[in-house]
């Protein structure tokens, strides 16, 4: 069959030589991927998310423990450029009013009270990457004590934007780390299964089938619930991630096995074997790279499941717990309908879940299509 080599629109020689038909597999996949517009946009979104994860202390206007008891469940503010007192980036402060009977406080924007906002402002001190002490924030009030809550505040009076930024680090990394753990298991067992075949394959396949037919979710609910309530958040994070990974590896293992099976009889594998390469070398240096795009696609498609699972688990109170923040933990705030009805912005972390899950799905789909040009 003809490999659709490169997007060369012209038949002139220049294009042809610049993009030879022998372009590497990854270049071909990348060219095909770029045509998948939604996937490309999603890839940018994920890149942005990665930046947020790495630089989250800098991106968040406030520190993770910042609490402002004066403004609990305050609504989002709008960034403005112009007010009566002149030009400049600012938001309106709040006026608050307490209902004498329900004791509920409602906030209104107060155009009189101008809170100046700037980029790269001085704020709470933190350590970038864990070791570079710094105090600049991407955006924030010029006076760190002023209220600037672009996405509103939580029921505790924490800045929702900052909290979402911190939660992104936790929730997204649970997905990514969990999938990597699952991937290690899946790739080792899948490779053994697909490469050697025979009884090893049979045994591993039976185990996978068994695990797959066990309804996973009630079981991990059970495991998660059995964890002691007073566990240290970091340990808890890793245990939850591991539990999720233990459930997710089977699908990846099957994918890897299928790929190894189909490659086992290819010439380059036979010749590598005749050359005396070791099994491990053949598997991981020769075979694996030849379907790495498929693997990356499968990984990308497994991450959403992890993220959704962590979110649901944490929201139920079985996963991560405060003081750890994840999207699921944040959404607990919104589960009381009396609170939610007055504070819809508390659902913003849910939007993040949807956005990131969609992005991973699109990137995965785009990659898979790009890696398999014949499917279309």
């Amino acid at each position: 069959m003809d490999v659709k080599a490169g997007p060369s629109k012209t038949t002139e020689g220049i294009e042809e030589t610049a993009r030879p038909a022998t372009a590497s597999q990854s270049r071909l996949v990348w060219w095909a991927f770029k045509k998948h517009r939604l996937a490309l946009v999603s890839a940018w979104i994920l890149a942005g998310m990665m930046l947020v994860i790495v630089l989250c202390e800098f991106v968040a206007p406030f520190g993770s423990r910042h609490r402002d008891a004066e403004y609990t469940t305050a609504p989002p503010q709008v960034l403005k450029l112009w007010s009566d007192s002149g030009f400049g980036l600012h938001v309106d402060g709040y006026t608050s009013e307490q209902d004498p009977r329900s004791l509920r406080i409602t906030y209104e924007a107060n155009p009189e009270d101008r809170v100046d906002v700037g980029f790269f402002v001085k704020g709470e001190e933190y350590e970038l990457f864990g070791f570079i002490p710094w105090d600049r924030h991407l955006i924030g009030p010029t006076d760190p004590d002023d209220p600037m809550y672009l996405w509103g505040t939580t029921t505790d009076g924490q800045d929702l934007l900052s909290q979402v930024v911190y939660a992104t680090r936790v929730s997204a990394s649970v997905g990514i780390i969990g999938v990597l753990l699952a991937f290690i298991l899946g790739i080792v067992l899948g490779a053994i299964s697909g490469y050697f075949g025979g009884w090893a394959d049979n045994a591993i396949q039976r185990v996978i089938e068994l695990i797959m037919s066990v309804p996973a979710i009630p079981l991990w609910l059970g495991f998660a619930a059995a964890l002691p309530a007073d566990m240290n958040p970091v340990t808890r994070y890793f245990i939850i991630t591991t539990i999720l990974a233990l459930v997710a590896w089977t699908g990846l293992a099957r994918e890897v096995r299928g790929r190894f099976l189909s490659l086992r009889r290819e010439e380059f594998v036979t010749s590598a074997r005749l050359d005396g390469s070791s099994h491990g070398r053949i598997m991981f240096r020769h075979m694996l790279p030849s379907f790495s795009s498929h693997i990356i696609a499968a990984l990308s498609l497994s991450i959403p499941g992890m993220i959704l699972a962590e979110t649901a688990l944490s929201w139920l109170g079985m996963g991560l717990r405060p003081p750890a923040v994840s999207w699921g933990v944040q959404l607990q705030d919104a589960s009381k309908w009396s609170v939610l009805s007055g504070a819809p912005w508390l659902l913003i972390p849910g939007l993040c879940v949807v956005l990131v899950v969609l992005a991973f799905n699109f990137v995965g789909d785009g990659l898979r299509d790009a890696a398999d040009p014949y499917k279309h």
């Binding site: 080599a5 060369s8 629109k9 038949t11 095909a32 045509k35």
Partner: protein, 342 residues
Amino acid sequence: MTEPLLEISGLRTGFDTYDGRVRAVDGVDLTVHAGKTLCVVGESGCGKSVTARSILRLVEAPGSIDAGTITWHGGDAPFDVLSLDVKDERLARLRGGDIGMIFQEPMASLLPLRTIGAQLIETIRIHTGLDKRAARAKAVDLLGQVGIPKPHERIDAYPFQLSGGMCQRVMIAIALCADPSLLIADEPTTALDVTTQARILDLIRTLQAEHRMAVMFITHDLGVVAELADEVAVMYLGRVVERAGVDELFADPKHPYTKALLASVPVLGRDRGRDLPTIPGAVPNPLHRPSGCSFHPRCAEAIAGTCDVVAPPEVDFDAGTGFADRRTVECVLYADREGAPA
């Protein structure tokens, strides 16, 4: 000369891909004569299957037929297949009725979930209106005709219980169920082993004689061509570059591509112990069709400044005789022969 049964003229079929439109079939003219065998040969990817599919309007999205006419002379009045509405009864009658078609992968051409009997009887009933019992009797009879042992038992077998050769026989039985006047066979033996190939070819030949049908046989095996064909069409990159009677073609190939093809076939005795010539280069991607004659980059006789610039003319060696369009070549080498009787 017998009457034309099917006339394809100026057929263009293309596929939309990310990289642009692939002109898989780019102006093909072919004629199948009643009761005769036309062999279509050419390298992989030159558009043979797409041509065959276009005849029964089987080209699916992203592909579509852009131009041309396909005239069917087998009915009461000739009509253009391409101008029919998809719901037209005449098209329904052509498919599986007047024209039977068999494919390269017999196993994959049958639904694994239904017995071969169910699929055969279904077709019989669509085209003959027989009731269930009669259709079943006819099905058993057909299976016997195509050489399936114990047809009354095998009729209830599933495709995956039969070998590839047996499946191809079933496909042939299905194609024959309404006594077609044309059988289109798209590389029906490529996926089979050599002995089975020979048996299927024999079967097709016998059935052709019995049913007096024409056969359009697609292959890239010149041995098969020599054995089966009355006429031959050689295709290259979506075009027919040479047409001839089978003897003429083997005795006196005109087009450089045909010559190269023939030279690459081993001849018993002659070629012992020497390397066979091969055609240099590979079939170009139809997306990047070379300018001028699309064969010129691989052609030993190409004339620089001509072949890479102008499209070659179609030279008709029989022009002016009663057999127009029987022996044609698309090549500048014969341009001066234009209009001259051979």
